[in-house]
Amino acid sequence: MGLEFLHRVMRATAVVGVLAFAFVALYYNIEFAWGILVGCAWGIGNFWALTRVITALVTPHGIDRRRALTMAAIKFPVLYVGGYFILTSGWFPPLALLAGFTILFVVVALKAAGRIFLHLDDRAKRPASTPETLGTRT
């Protein structure tokens, strides 16, 4: 489970957010649906920026200061100032924003649970030629 897991999570969250937008717009309320979509985008943007900041700052190979400062300068405005304007604008219901923001964490939890229950990490570690893996091939 490396950094590619996080990229898959962000892609899956975007897909779930668009599906939730379409579902809620059709069956409930268009304003609430836009709130979910914007909250989802806010969550993805925040997660992407957090990933970039941490990979730039917390690394055993030395810090690229310019990249770290640039990402930190992008991340905190995206999270806090952007969130403040979204919340205070009154265009979207706060509960819808919260629901959209939560989608990413639901996706992370479900993907992690899937990896545990399907034993994906164990399969990646096990050599291909062991009798156990040969027995599972069909």
């Binding site: 490396g2 950094l3 941490i54 992690a112």
Partner: protein
């Protein structure tokens, strides 16, 4: 003390406690990750992934507190 006055005191206090807890949590997470990376630099990718997910979850709790603040703020006025 009526409901609105109590809420006016409790809201900023609650948000401050949430921010403080989040700051402590993030600090501990990053310190532990740096320590682990120092011991096992070859596992840096896995440690970073776990730390990013943990940091995002910690931050999300602060965001929830912020949103709750905005929802309840409307009841004061």
């Amino acid at each position: 003390m009526d409901f609105k006055t109590a809420l006016s005191f409790a809201l900023p206090l609650g948000l401050a406690i949430a921010a403080l807890g989040s700051a402590f949590g993030l600090g501990r997470a990053v310190a532990a990750a740096m320590d682990a990376m120092g011991r096992q630099p070859e596992a840096a990718g896995k440690i970073q992934t776990g730390m990013i997910i943990g940091c995002a979850l910690i931050e999300a709790l602060t965001i929830y507190a912020l949103v709750a603040f905005f929802i309840l703020q409307g009841r004061i006025a």
